[in-house]
Structure formats: C-alpha cells, structure tokens
C-alpha cells in the first residue's frame, strides 16, 4: 500500500500548476516526471497514468504528474496553453521532483504529444522514456483537424445533422479552444527520435521495436489495453492488470540506464 497521493499547487513564474506526487514507501530509487498528452488525450488518459503512477510507486519510484498551464486543474485559460509554456512548466516540475527525491536518478516520461516538452528538458534528466510518441507534429495536427471535423459533423454527437454541418469553430481543436502558438508549435515540432538522444532513451509503444529504430534506443512493447485509448473518444473503465505489468517492466528498465 503506497502512501496517499500528494496533490499540490506549484507556482512557476506566476503560473499556478496542479500536480500530484505518488510517493513510494521509504526512500525512492528513482523519480519519474510524466509529461501528459494534450487536448482530449489528456482527459482520455488521465486515469491510466494515475494508475501507472501508483503502480510505479509500488516499485519504489516517486512519480510526479502535473497539468500544463492552461490545461486541467492548472491556472490559465485554454488559449494560454502552448508547447513553449509546457516545456517551461515541465522544467519547473522537474526541479520540484528533484527536491523530493534527493540524489536518486530522474526519468522524464513524455506521453504522445507530451514528448515535445519532454525532449526539451531531457538533458536535465538521467533518461528519457517516450510513450506512444508523436513523431510528426504536422501530421498529428492534420489528423486532429480531420477528427475534429468528423466530430462536429457526427450524428452520434449532434442528432440534427443539418444543424451539425453548419458548426465550424476555427479556434478550437477537439473541443478545446486553442491558440495559434499551439498550432505553430505542433507543426514545427521536430521528431523526438531524430538526432542523438542526450540521455538513454526508451520507446514504449505497441510496435516499439519499429518505432525505436536506432539500436541505441530501448524498445518496450505495450499491450493493446494500454494503447487503444489514443484512438478512442469514449471513456471506459481502465483495466488495472496491464498497468501493473508494464510498471514492473518500466521499473526493470531503471537497472539498464
């Protein structure tokens, strides 16, 4: 049984960030900072990564999750969220985590589009883990645009098809208001797997071996129960067993770094 979650508001240059710390019993063997996915994927995956944080804590790992400014329970409006801000929020959260775990190694875990801020702070950590990484921000954005258009015209969402067709909100993406800065940031984000990684790198994905092409990158295969959420909008109960299983494998990775 892990100690209770420690929710906390962090202050970072006038940006109030909500965070949750999962602490293990005793001294942590490592710390993991989770850089969350964005837009609907943040909400859709929230429970999965809360459970993963808890499961990693059972393996002696302290885990800090946080909401970027302009998202979730953090301060700011949706339109104030962009990838530059997310990277500075992640850097601040990393400092906080370091303060909590002493000299234990720190790993940054970037999830989906959360890989973009994660990569930018990776040099300050001992390892970088990428979970279902978005490698092409431009293609990702185009996919979201199409999916958003499909949602706005869906008769599952809007029973009155004729009216639904007329709905078009250019400043929103997947139901969330978004800024030009976010759109530009996604379009211009470099492939997180391009170039030499500054720290040991692992990729966690359904077909991780293919994604982690360079031989220096560790591949960790994920079960469908841990990856399917990214393709769905409906919420359902998150199965716990696959989360516990992958937490054990991630904890074992610590010994290889």
């Amino acid at each position: 049984m892990n100690p209770p979650l420690q929710p906390q508001m962090l202050e970072a240059d006038g940006r109030r960030l909500f965070s949750v710390l999962h602490s293990p019993e005793g001294r942590p063997r490592a710390g993991v900072l989770m850089c969350a996915p964005i837009l609907h994927e943040h909400v859709r995956s929230y429970r999965l990564f809360a459970l993963l944080g808890d499961a990693l804590a059972s393996h002696g790992v302290a885990v800090l999750r946080f909401d970027y400014y302009g998202t979730g329970d953090s301060g700011g409006s949706d339109a104030e969220f962009d990838l530059d801000g997310a990277a500075s929020d992640a850097a601040r959260a990393l400092e906080i985590l370091r303060g909590r775990i002493g000299d234990a190694p720190v790993i940054v875990l970037g999830i989906r589009a959360g890989v973009f801020p994660a990569v930018r702070i990776a040099a300050q950590a001992q390892a970088l883990w990428l979970w279902q990484p978005i490698r092409d921000g431009r293609a990702y954005l185009a996919g979201l645009r199409q999916r958003d258009a499909d949602e706005r015209r869906s008769t599952r969402r809007y029973a009155l098809r004729a009216e639904a067709r007329q709905i078009d909100y250019p400043d929103s993406l997947m139901g969330f208001p978004c800024s030009d800065a976010l759109l530009v940031g996604l379009r211009e984000a470099p492939d997180p797997l391009s170039g030499a990684p500054p720290v040991p790198l692992a990729v966690c994905d359904r077909d991780a071996a293919a994604a982690a092409a360079p031989p220096t990158v560790t591949a960790l295969e994920l079960a469908p129960a841990l990856t399917e959420w990214a393709d769905q909008l409906e919420m359902y109960l998150q199965p716990v067993r696959p989360v516990q299983e992958v937490a054990g494998r991630l904890a074992a990775l610590l010994d290889t770094h």
């Binding site: 906390q8 508001m9 909400v43």
Partner: protein, 281 residues
C-alpha cells in the same frame, strides 16, 4: 483562488474559494461526468467553477472512487459520502447550503443526494432523468421530418426490422441510476415542498429526451413549480463539445445561481478547516 481540500479516505477535491468578503452562503458541488475526471468534458467543470466562484459561490470539484485520481475503492455509500463532503466544505467556508449535480450520471447522483440530504438546496440537472412515451415518439418524428430522404429510408428499414437497430436493447434506463417509473413525480414534489431549487437542462445529444413536453409528462404537476427552471437546448450535444455551447451553459448556470441563491455571508470571520495544501511551492 483554488485550493486542494482533503475529503478523507485518500480523496481530495479542488475548491474554488471566493474572497471571504464576497463569499455567499451556498456552495456548488460538481460530480464527475461519468468516467471523465473532475476537470469535466473539455475542461468545462474547471471553467464553470471559476465563473461561479467569481460571483461569490465556493465550488468543489472532486473525483469519485474509481475515477481520475481517486485510486481507492469507495468506503461509503454515495449519499453518506456527499454528506461528509458537505461537512468538509462547511468547515472551510461556513456554507450550509449546497447545490449538487452535473452532467448525465452526475445529475442522477445530485437527485439522489438532494432527496436524502437536507442541506442540498439545489440540483444542477444536465441531461437528467426523463421518461419516453408519446412525446418522445412525436419528438423523434419531428426530428426525422427535418432530415434528408436517405435517413427516412434508414429509419423505416430499422422500423421494419430489415436491419438491426444500433445498440439494440440498451436504453438510458438500463445504464442510469433512475427510480422506478413514476416515482420521480412524488420525488420532485417532495423536493419542491422542501424549497429545493432545480435547474433541469436537456440537450439535443440526450437520446432519451427529444421533445420539451417530455419534462412535464415525466415529472407531473410539480414540474410547473417556480422552484424548477427547465430548458431544452436542441442544437447542443450531450458533452458541450462546441465552445459557444460551453460559454452559454456557464452563463446560464451563473445566472441561475445568482437568481436562486442570492444570499451572502452575513458576518465574515476567519475559518479553519481541513485544507491540506494551501501552501504553494
């Protein structure tokens, strides 16, 4: 200002706390919309909480066991858990009256809590209980009349069983926490008799509600009470996907709170409560 409020048993909530000089005596408690954690669909709850708190009402958002950050299993029945949450909010804010509810299952839970907790003075009921019946049939036909011919044909085929209907056999009644048919009439009458205020809003995304007259047909004479504010937003979806719909909802809830719960704290004083994280790192 937003604070983290300890709710016991490993649960916590986000409390939007207006300045004590502006604080009113009624608090809003938003329940999870299904499996979506406390920020709500498209961050609706977080924004609604800020807007309502800006008018002086404390607002609590929290995760039920099994949702979001609530990792532990439930230790109390929902109504008793709500009573304990009221106690925690009161200790922090001095509020003694509470508005409860939210979207879909949260509306159902608000209804149950209000029936069983005398401190619940209002229900925010978004796509809550409604029975089908003749007005539902008429509503479906009216919708169909506005659709192009291929949809008419598809509907006719379904009706004639030329192909199976989508999600055959599963209805709102099967998945929602609703009382036995008819019981809701006496329940609403008892709530109105207790002066409980109700904001019942239905959207075009709720398959079980397709005609405004279903409301009166479901709840009977008490539906006409001045305590009950009813609205039907036919062009809005169940989760308020479109930003203008969210803005409209937030404005409507703020207006309703101000009209129905105008009270303010009479004698502001320092309060002590179960705040576990007011500090800022």
């Amino acid at each position: 200002m937003e604070e983290i409020l300890d709710l016991g048993d490993g649960l916590f909530g986000i409390l939007n706390l207006p300045p004590i000089t502006q604080r009113r005596r009624t608090a809003l408690v938003l329940f999870d919309a299904g499996f979506i954690h406390r920020v709500g669909p498209f961050r609706l709850h977080a924004r609604l909480a800020r807007a309502v708190a800006a008018e002086g009402y404390p607002v609590l958002r929290f995760d039920h066991p099994g949702v979001g950050d609530a990792l532990a299993l439930a230790t109390l029945p929902a109504v008793r858990a709500a009573a304990r949450i009221f106690d925690r909010i009161r200790a922090r804010t001095d509020c003694e009256r509470f508005v409860v509810g939210g979207i879909c299952s949260a509306a159902d839970q608000g209804w149950q809590v209000a029936l069983n907790e005398h401190r619940a003075g209002g229900i925010l009921m978004l796509d809550g209980l409604a029975r089908k019946g003749p007005w539902h049939v008429i509503g479906r036909l009216k919708r169909l009349a506005r659709e192009p011919f291929p949809r008419w044909l598809a509907a006719l085929r379904r009706h004639l069983r030329l192909r199976p209907p989508p999600q055959a056999g599963v209805t709102a009644e099967d998945v929602r926490d609703w009382p036995a048919p008819g019981v809701e009439r006496s329940q609403l009458a008892s709530l109105v008799a207790r002066d409980v205020e109700i904001f019942a809003l239905y959207t075009g995304g709720a398959a079980h509600f397709v005609h405004p007259r279903q409301f009166r047909a479901t709840y009977g004479a008490a539906a006409a009470s001045t305590r009950v504010q009813f609205a039907y937003w036919e062009h809005c979806d169940h989760m308020f996907y479109a930003e203008p719909d969210r803005q409209r909802l937030i404005a409507a809830v703020v207006d309703w709170m101000q009209a129905r719960f105008p009270d303010r704290t009479e004698r502001p004083r320092a309060t002590a409560g179960s705040l576990i994280r007011q500090d800022v790192v």
